[in-house]
């Protein structure tokens, strides 16, 4: 307790730009030391080693045989047709699913903040998919969408006999998008609901007194005040670009079953061969860890640039009630 009191006193006594004396600050450093050590060893260390490894031909096991290869891995990455294919597939799924996901979850949030009977039940139903284990989710979707034995085709066949769609092989990305929307909407909806519920009621009332219609109230009062949440969702989505890995692998059908045809050893249909699937394949099937690191750093660079662009646009459309410095 005495230590905490010392820190509190020190914080109170210091001036705006004044440094806390080391005698007192040492306790601060001591308290954050476990986190710092963890950060250095488990975050910064791997990140730095990842950068270093991307310039080597490291195979994942032989530190002693890893050799510095300069920019070879990066040059190879730009020439890698499969990496480009995977990247293009990522762009496709992002362009389709990101706005769709944001729109659906926003609309769901608007509906779920209305005073309707059974609102709590609907909120729960919307949120449940986001807490289910991904392997269980994919398994269920796989059973539903299976070309020959799936429930969806059976339902379509019941409505229009003879209907047969090869969901998992001709429309695998669409299935993935549907599954993603179903699974991730709940989480985003909760954020939007929090944003919508924080809109001061007096602003709504003021707009009504001024004669605003429901749409105008939404467009000129509610929406601007929720833009920080939309911005947050957008940034998170951009950061998540290219991270799709487990879902396409688990969704892939088995050609046989000897290990190369199902589970994480599966080769997804070409349309679901995303960038991270390619990285996973190169690293764990081909043992090209150095090359895999290079691919990952290129993806990081892309996501970083895109994030900076999104931040750059924020001043034009994100509304903050407090002044921005």
């Amino acid at each position: 307790m005495a230590v905490i009191r010392d820190i509190q006193v020190a914080l109170r006594e210091r001036g705006p730009k004044e440094r806390i004396p080391w005698r007192k600050a040492k306790w601060f450093y001591l308290f954050i030391l476990p986190w710092m050590v963890g950060f250095l060893v488990f975050t910064l260390g791997p990140v730095l080693s990842g950068i270093f490894m991307s310039f080597t031909n490291f195979d994942g096991m032989h530190f002693d045989k890893a050799r510095f290869v300069g920019l070879y891995n990066y040059v190879e990455a730009f020439k890698d047709e499969q990496a480009w294919w995977g990247f293009n597939r990522v762009l496709y799924i992002t362009v389709v699913s990101m706005p769709l996901g944001m729109a659906i979850s926003f609309i769901a949030a608007v509906l779920l903040t209305q005073r309707v009977r059974g609102r709590g039940v609907f909120r729960t139903i919307f949120y449940i998919p986001s807490i289910l284990p991904i392997t269980a989710v994919v398994w269920v979707w796989k059973l539903m969408m299976d070309n020959n034995y799936g429930l969806v085709n059976a339902a379509l066949d019941a409505v229009k006999p003879g209907t047969y769609l090869r969901w998992l092989t001709e429309y695998p990305t669409q299935v993935l998008i549907m599954m993603g929307l179903w699974g991730a909407t709940g989480q985003a909806t909760v954020y939007y609901m929090a944003g919508l519920q924080s809109v001061p009621k007096e602003l709504d009332d003021a707009a009504l007194i001024d004669g605003a219609t429901g749409w105008q109230k939404f467009r000129f009062v509610t929406l601007p005040l929720v833009t920080p949440v939309i911005f947050y969702q957008l940034v998170m989505s951009v950061l998540g670009i290219g991270q799709i890995l487990v879902q396409p692998l688990l969704l892939a059908g088995g050609i046989g079953g000897g290990g190369g045809g199902s589970g994480l050893g599966a080769i997804p249909p070409r349309d679901n061969y995303f960038y991270m699937v390619h990285v996973f394949n190169r690293v764990f099937t081909y043992f090209r860890f150095g090359y895999g690191f290079a691919l990952l750093w290129l993806l990081f660079a892309f996501a970083l640039v895109l994030t900076l662009i999104v931040f750059g646009t924020a001043r034009y459309w994100v509304y903050y009630e407090v002044g921005q410095e």
């Binding site: 032989h62 020959n148 047969y164 092989t169 088995g254 046989g256 079953g257």
Partner: protein
């Protein structure tokens, strides 16, 4: 002595050193093996009677002074139950405790990379060349040569997988010829296709005909696929080539002969045709699960796996089976029409002991008990695989007509087909060929490439991978 307070600079320096130390510990070398103690040679007077005690452990590796803990990796409860493990510990002399670490190949690699490998680990016999190239496994030749339990002349030929470049690095926990057929007799009868005879080797062309005749459709839907093959593409190619005494790789394993080997091109084209005809699961019409599951569920008329499918058939609930259980039968593997019939295991799961282990004798005691003691007998009785010790064959189930049919079939194959281990490339994993083929097969099925282009792509991808891997290991 004046006590100096720690300066901030000192504090930060100390923190950095601590962090760096912790980080470097993870990158350190593997633990140094305990130096072997060379026994002093003692001259024994000729006239004195010497009572020779049976050798309990190899003479070059003395027993440790006290029982030690053994870290065992990748062996789940299903393969070595706690009861069996406790029974072992109750009578073990050199093992005080067994730490069971579960995980996959990635975790195993991580443990090795961190310098903390397990003392014994479970893996496929197909991995032996790669492990030896990595210098991971302990050469157990001396242990086998002196063991009273695991005798070399009692070993099934399949154990040859673990004998590599003059060393002997482990043995199977069980194995099976992996290219044997499992047929659903009811499906053949329903389709009016003559049921393949027992103990007769049919050709791949015969199997193509069956696949077509046995595939059952309703509109575009596949109700039953004729042939749900395994996806051991490399194994298929290699066993076909072994019929003619050829191999997929050149002698030093630096190159794979794919597009330039007429037989390989024929086999891949054969599979591409079956996929195009949609009488075998393929990238455009994949299995909803896996072939073994399809087989017992009646979704596949015949499949190609090992004897261990027997365990799946006898373990399935009667009410879940589409037809009487004894309609699930085993037949010998196929032939491309070469000089000899070939059907060895393509790998088979077994155990290794780590070269840098500090407790080799303890690890060996665990190994020996698991491979030749009560756990091995229990496995043989379970009907999930063939024991690696021929002396345990008698324990394989033969009680029911179904048990007997599978037993007789697999025994016939052991006697009448080549069981020699296939050549395994130490530089690339089997997954490379599978990955390259499945990717290109899809392109072919979508008419984006010709079969020649698909095969050329596979050739390029596999050989590029080989080149990269050799370059990573040896430079150049």
């Amino acid at each position: 002595m004046t006590r100096k307070s720690l300066s901030r600079r000192d504090f930060l320096r100390l923190s950095a050193l601590t962090a760096a130390g912790a980080a470097l510990a993870g990158c350190g070398p593997a633990p140094t093996p305990t130096p072997e103690v060379v026994k002093e040679t003692v001259e024994v007077p000729v006239e004195k009677t010497v009572v020779v005690q049976p050798t309990e452990v190899p003479p070059t590796v003395p027993p440790p002074p006290a029982p030690a803990k053994v870290v065992m990796f990748g062996v789940g409860q299903g393969e070595y139950s706690d009861d069996e493990l406790n029974a072992f510990l109750a009578q073990a002399r050199y093992v005080s405790e067994v730490e069971r670490v579960e995980g996959d190949a990635t975790r195993l690699r991580a443990m090795w990379a961190a310098g903390t490998p397990p003392d014994a680990w479970r893996a496929s016999g197909a991995d032996v060349p790669q492990y030896v190239a990595l210098d991971w496994p302990l050469d157990l030749t001396e242990y086998f040569n002196t063991s009273e339990v695991l005798k070399p002349d009692d070993m099934a030929p399949a154990v040859g997988y673990f004998q590599y470049e003059g060393g002997w690095y482990g043995m199977h926990k069980d194995f099976s010829p992996d290219m044997s057929l499992q047929i659903n007799v009811a499906a053949f009868e329903e389709a009016g296709v003559p049921v393949p005879e027992e103990n007769k080797i049919y050709t791949y062309q015969d199997a193509a005909g069956w696949a077509e005749a046995l595939t059952k459709r309703e509109g575009d839907r596949t109700l039953r696929i004729g042939w749900a093959d395994n996806d051991y593409w490399d194994g298929t190619l290699q066993t076909v080539l072994m019929e003619e005494g050829q191999d997929l790789f050149v002698d030093d394993f630096t190159r794979a002969n794919i597009k330039d080997n007429e037989r390989v091109v024929e086999v891949l084209a054969y599979y591409a045709d079956l996929a195009k005809a949609n009488v075998m699961w393929n990238p455009l019409n994949p299995s909803p699960s896996w072939a073994g599951d399809d087989y017992v569920a009646g979704r596949a008329a015949f499949i190609r796996y090992g004897y261990w499918m027997h365990g799946i058939v006898i373990g399935a609930n009667e009410e879940d089976l589409p037809n009487p259980r004894d309609k699930f039968q085993m037949r010998p593997g196929l032939s491309w029409g070469g000089k000899v019939a070939v059907n060895p295991p393509l790998g088979g799961a077994g155990w290794f002991i780590a070269k840098p282990t500090q407790v080799p004798v303890s690890a060996w005691e665990l190994f020996e008990y698991y491979m030749g003691g009560p756990p091995a007998e229990n496995r043989a009785r379970s009907g999930w695989g063939l024991p690696a010790l021929k002396s345990l064959y008698a324990l394989i189930p033969q009680d029911t007509p179904l048990d007997k049919q599978w037993y007789d079939s697999v025994m016939w194959e052991l006697e009448n087909t080549v069981q020699t281990a296939r050549q395994l490339n130490p530089f690339i994993a089997t997954g490379n060929i599978n990955s390259a083929w499945v990717t290109n097969l899809e392109l072919y099925l979508k008419d984006e490439v010709t079969i020649e282009e698909a095969i050329a792509n596979v050739d390029k991808e596999v050989n590029d991978a080989l080149k990269e891997r050799i370059n990573a290991l040896y430079g150049g």
